[in-house]
Amino acid sequence: MARPQTITEKILAAHSDRDTVRPGEIVNARIDLVVCHEITTPPAIRMMAQMGVTKVFDASKIVVTPDHFVPNKDIQTAELTKELRNWVKAQGIARYHELGEHGICHALVPEKGYILPGMTAVCGDSHTTTLGAFGAFASGVGSTDVAAVLTTGELWFRVPETIRFNVTGKLPHGVYSKDLILHIISKIGVDGARYCAMEYHGSAIASMSMEARMTITNMAVEAGGKTGIMEADDITKNYLSARTDETYTVYKSDGDAEYSAVHNIDASALEPVVALPSLPSNGRFIGEVGHVAIDQAYIGSCTNARIEDLRIAARVMKGRRVADGVRCIVVPSTSGVWRQALREGLFEVFAEAGCVVSTATCGACLGGSMGVLGKQEVCISSTNRNFVGRMGHAEALVYLASPATVAASAIAGHIVDPREYLERPLRREKEAGVPVGAVATPEQEEYLWGV
């Protein structure tokens, strides 16, 4: 009888020609997808030359997009993207996404259908864990790792212990997957899942869209995790069938698989969460945040700038104006999201509210460009990290929240509960049978929000 295994163990075993693997073992796993951007890949290109390597292991398994400092923010950045572009040409890599077709890699790769269940994927970027939402093993690595994998198609991994999160119930209205993951990180800490896989189950996850799920796996690294992972289901399959004809293997954890810890979370009990400076684990329910005036509101990043995020932000901002003295910056995560938002009229909402809209870029999330913060400036951001110096000056203060909370705070000029801005349409209260001035029953609430 084979040892019962988690989905992570099964994928790593299958990619290292093993029947089973155990946490703590070192395996050399074949890699199905290598994602490259202009910060961590140029050093790897150099390292390959240092090893006397002239050809990548398999150009068809590589995806390349510039994303961190695009459009080039200075001469040195221009040199980095040029180095990347020249290398792509020299290696004959077809899946290269130039400016205009580019995107933040962790958002672009799923959008194009490049990540599939059962795959192993790496990138020289810590938020590679995002791709685990598809039932893949995806982990961030360094440039030396990128050089090794581009050369050999394999990479060493210590098989991680797995922490299981059972998320039951349903997220209340105005509460999103970002609030859930900020809550989880606040409970376990920024190193609560150090070296571990974070595996998610439960009705709250099952009812989420792929975009909402990706926000959760994206932030695995903010708890120190090696990967965040969810089993592929019909929602995954439907998302992929619109994007790719490739076949794939769906792995699921055995019922009696071993977990180093199990956490049970009732999503229904959650409220909007804001992570206070300067750790992602400083999450507080919105009611405990107090009055925090802001200088900037930033809606962007691989965490929360997909089309659903922009729709939520637009819903909050429609017909309203950004508060005096506040800068609101909207950065769609990919060129595809940008075009979709344009078609849906979301940019009109943002523009009339007084926001600026950028092309896709990692931008100010890492203090690169498009909204870098000055000394003691305060920003509420839909991004993933609020470390000291992350978005600019070391004395700037960053609060992390959902796109709804960021958008509502931009309107208010200080951090607020977005639910006050996600008002129910009044005319439908009558249809739902809610007496004027009365509080709706849960069933009536369900109806009112079910638009």
Partner: protein
């Protein structure tokens, strides 16, 4: 370059940062990621946590950190900046995984020793004895056992890092001298390099 392990012993003076979660944005801020030139990065090591660090650090010194050292981004630039600034190894209670991975891949030692940062003082004369698995604090006259390196990591460290190990397996030679090339190296230059190697 630091991180040269001679006779399995590393000796240097301590720079102590006992706080937990010292992250890659503090070790090397993203505003300097527009280059991967190690010497340039080294000028800004630890800048956002200790602007005086680079001017004080001497070749071979040892950085001592608290829990979850190096959390945050995957930027290997954090390891390169510390090593090129002169640091020979980092001792911390424990490490964030990508920093740990990056350091070992570079043949640069990350030593796990719980609570060491709470006892060490800036300037202490430290010695890491890899064979015996102990850290000696000569200033304080104390000895501390550290978490043993796995056989795989020992093999990688002995090889000088992941790339020399990969090159050896492929029957090529890893030539770090090529690292001297400037970041704006052109494809033509890379081709020349390939011919040479």
């Amino acid at each position: 370059m630091g991180s040269v392990v001679q006779g399995g012993v590393i000796r240097g003076h301590a720079h102590v940062y006992p706080r937990a979660h010292i992250n890659t944005d503090e070790i090397i801020p993203a505003r300097y990621l527009n280059t991967h030139d190690h010497a340039e990065l080294a000028k800004h090591a630890m800048e956002d946590i200790d602007p005086g660090f680079v001017s004080r650090v001497k070749q071979g010194d040892i950085l001592v950190g608290g829990e979850d050292f190096g959390c945050g981004s995957s930027r290997e630039h954090a390891v390169w900046s510390l090593r090129t600034a002169g640091i020979s190894c980092v001792i911390a209670s424990n490490f964030a995984r990508i920093f740990f991975r990056n350091s070992l891949n570079n043949g640069f030692l990350s030593i796990e020793c719980a609570g060491f940062a709470d006892k060490a003082k800036n300037g202490d004369d430290l010695e890491v004895d890899l064979a015996k698995g102990v850290i000696r604090n000569h200033t304080q006259g104390t000895e501390h056992i550290f978490v043993a390196l796995t056989p795989f990591v020992q093999e990688m460290i002995a090889a000088g890092g992941l790339l020399p190990m990969v090159a050896k397996k492929r029957g090529t030679v890893y030539n770090p001298a090529i690292a001297a090339a400037k970041p704006d190296v052109s494809v033509a230059q890379l081709k020349t390099v390939r011919v040479v190697s």
